[in-house]
Subunit: 521 residues, 2 copies
């Protein structure tokens, strides 16, 4: 596959003007070709102008046409899955099976959004018929549905080079609902991004999409990213990354003359709580499951379990088993040097925290690697230090033991989370009403007898949660509910049938579910 190292500005490629940056193989530290050129200010402007020009055309294509485009993107990506796997492994240090699995998930996401377009519930079509004879005032005919808001900027994630990147969830949901997308590529995996962007452009051309429906820009977040977020023609932002980066984008968007929504997924320690009865019954197998979840993908998941609450006195077998598992765990390569350094620093800070014991940590076998580590402290220690709530991105976890009251206080004290998990028997749950109530207020997804890693892409997934897990807990970045991110409702009043969108025409030509005069049909 031909790799050019330049941005995608509509259907054209950018110039080789620089500055340049290159991907680095985190396993071998080798610098990977080609170097990637930062786009010029004119190229950034051109990508935005093309997106704005594409919007009135793209938004008015039939839903079925957009569904066909999503499916074409999936097919084109599928055809280059080998290239993606090879380049992706080199750029991220992730194993090939993970790259192939994530490619499959990305295809699945695109196709699920296409299915959603076919089915039609998502558009929230509502019709209320006129009542010309109503007193004291006649009632007008009023119909509403969701419409796209405009060009969207999507920032790629370092830890999901496919599923949260170029053609990942945010791009799929924006394209599905009718918004052009400008992707800001991540510097950790520019080559993987180039391969996927080529597939998207090929699909756009095959399907006759307007130029500008998709562009992808390289360059830094501070210059290229900021100028995109500040641009008056950009109407929303999707981001997956650090709290610091996400908050900077939120602040930038809120300070615009016209503020725009930012959907940032930022940080989460995903508390897990195990109840006494279940611990008495199967502490060893719970420890094994916890270890698997903690170390999956070298802990580089937003749903990695970073905080475990155990009832004081019930923890010994669990902790002993987990210690044994960690003792024999190998270190593994992290996504990039920056993430690895942050992991070493955050775990060192926790290890040095007064009152915290390191259960077990191994040496790393090579530079750029992380070894799993688990810490232990008492509830008093945790509750008296906000630093212990900070995310340690990687295979690290803190176990806190305490009384029932203390664990409730901890659950109440933690900030917004993507997930909260509770393990228990029916008897445990029956006594956990207050804990369940607190957890549901804190998280986007409440998991019973399961670990937080593993996010199903489906209609009922909520991968979001109160701040600072995300910028906006009213939304999700996984699953079809994400369609609401890049839309706003529009109402048509007293509109002749010929001038209504198909979704709202009286004869329901698309055969979609609609709320008619207050009842679903």
């Amino acid at each position: 596959m031909m790799m050019l190292g330049t941005s995608f500005v509509g259907f054209s490629r950018g110039a080789h003007v620089g500055p340049y940056s290159s991907a680095i193989n985190p396993t071998s530290q080798e610098i990977l070709d080609p170097p990637y050129a930062s786009p010029s200010a004119e190229e950034v402007e051109s990508a935005v102008q093309l997106a704005a020009k594409a919007f009135p055309v793209y938004r008015n294509l039939p839903a079925a046409t957009r569904a066909g485009f999503l499916r074409a993107i999936a097919s084109e990506i599928e055809m280059v899955a080998d290239d993606i796997a090879a380049r992706g492994c080199a750029e991220t240090g992730l194993p090939e099976a993970r790259l192939r699995g994530e490619t499959g998930r990305t295809l699945g996401q695109l196709r699920l959004f296409a299915t959603m377009l076919d089915e039609g519930t998502w558009i929230d079509a509502r019709i209320e018929h006129a009542q010309p004879d109503r007193t004291p005032l006649p009632k007008v005919d009023l119909r509403s549905m969701l419409r796209p808001i405009g060009p969207v900027v999507v920032f790629c994630a370092s830890n999901f080079p496919l599923a949260y990147s170029v053609a990942g969830g945010d791009s799929a949901s924006a394209l599905a609902v009718g918004c052009p997308v400008i992707v800001k590529a991540h510097s950790s995996h520019p080559g993987t991004s180039e391969i996927v962007a080529q597939a998207v452009i090929k699909a756009a051309q095959l399907c006759g999409m307007p130029e500008g429906v998709f562009s992808m820009l390289y360059g830094s977040g501070v210059t290229v990213g900021s100028s995109l977020v500040r641009h008056p023609l950009i109407k929303a932002v999707g981001f997956t990354g650090s709290h610091k980066g996400g908050r900077a984008l939120m602040d930038l968007a809120a300070a615009r003359p016209e503020p725009i929504p930012v959907y940032a997924e930022m940080s989460s320690i995903n508390p897990v709580i195990m109840m006494p009865d279940v611990l008495a019954q199967k502490a060893a197998s719970l420890a094994d499951g916890y270890f698997q979840s903690l170390t999956l993908g070298v802990g580089q998941f937003c749903t990695n379990p970073g905080l475990l609450l155990l009832p004081k006195g019930s923890e010994s077998e669990f902790v002993a088993t987990l210690k044994e598992k960690i003792s024999s765990a190998a270190s593994a390569t992290m996504l990039n040097a920056g993430i690895c350094q942050a992991y070493q620093e955050s775990t060192a800070a926790t290890a040095a925290h007064p009152g915290v014991t390191t259960i077990r940590s191994n040496q790393c076998a090579a530079p750029g690697q992380a070894a799993p580590v688990v810490f232990l402290c008492e509830a008093e220690t945790f509750l008296s230090s906000s630093a212990l709530s900070d995310e340690m991105f990687g295979p690290a976890s803190l176990i806190v033991t305490g009384s029932t009251e203390q664990l409730l206080a901890i659950a109440e004290a933690v900030e917004g989370q993507l997930t909260a998990s509770i393990f228990g028997t029916e008897a445990d749950f029956a006594s956990a009403g207050v804990m369940l109530e607190i957890l549901e207020r804190k998280a986007g997804r409440l998991i019973f007898n399961g670990f937080p890693t593993g996010v199903e892409v489906c209609h009922s997934m909520v991968h979001g949660g109160p701040y600072p897990a995300t910028s906006d807990g009213r939304s999700t970045s996984v699953g079809t509910m994400a369609a609401s991110r890049f839309t706003r409702p529009v109402a048509w009043q007293n509109t002749p049938d010929a001038f209504l969108p198909d979704e709202l025409k009286e004869s329901n030509p698309l055969g979609i579910p609609r709320l008619i005069d207050g009842k679903l049909h």
Copy 2:
């Protein structure tokens, strides 16, 4: 009815500590008793703490119980409709019929939200069953629905003392979905607000609601309002008022350690476009309709038509008729002295603008009154001055004439709007594709052959629009779609049936529509 002049802090009344402010009858300039005391910082804190304490209880009440509470509020307000009409007229200068009509609308809103709770579609219940045998990975059982986000602050509007105030749309939608409400009363109609708040509290007590489900605070927006918006336990804000006030709240909320959503409805000039064919057929009746819409409620509606676009050469009969109507129009009392002064200033600025002709303006018969006024200019003038797009809140309108291309340029140049209206015959509409496309991108509601005033409270109403019409065009402040304002989705994974909310239990005990495995049932 007993009027105390103090805030409602849960089920208690605030102390008489001051500072005080009094309502002024805008017709007679009489100062109305009682003086209203600003709450102390402790009272503000107490209202917030009570709301936060009520939240875990209130959110978990069955939807039917919350529906009963909404209906009880409506009944209690209905019982004091005479008091509301008397005090409301004195405080706002609005005629009694308007006060009674707006009371009826407020009751209707509360009852519509109760109906919405009974029907259940709004909660967006989704179920996906487990597939334990799925390869390569088993699928978990996942269920989701909307849940309330927490205590909400609602700022009352000056121009709707009932429908957008104490028990108005935002309060009704927040209470419906399970959020406690703290109302910040408007200084223009404190007595009307006290009567309504008494009714709400009486309903809360009759229905056994937790204390703190509703509070109402007097005092200034700058001190009391800001401290509420900054409070960490407040999770969302509803506001109807000026652009300046709304933007200040947006900025305050965005700068919090935990940013929260602000739903501010701010300003709109509601462009109306009339096409050549329809103007040739019935210019006089269109002018009559425009005059009625312009002067309704002394023009003090967010949907007042402030900008009229006419094809150059087709305007003469329309303008002549409108001039005649205005010549014989009486002036009328505005809501308060501040609004009246702003109206005089903004219309004087337009009158003095180079290139703008005043078609007709009358003298005001008394202080505090406004007379309708209509201005005329050419497209070039309008396009070269952003000041002419500023809202003149009151019965004032600017007519702009131009070529088809110029009117398209104007439509593209205007900012986000609550509404856009187009008048035409079928032949007109058939040639208006580009105009319709632009208008739909600019507004929340697109009206055919109708004026923007008159907002139906129903399921398909969109009373929102792109910034600066509102802070957040993804929402509406009228109709049941507003239920999404104060909610976020939550997913339950692998949850035993007994611990699921009724809405998600396998047997569907509430009989609500649900999206099950991708299909509506």
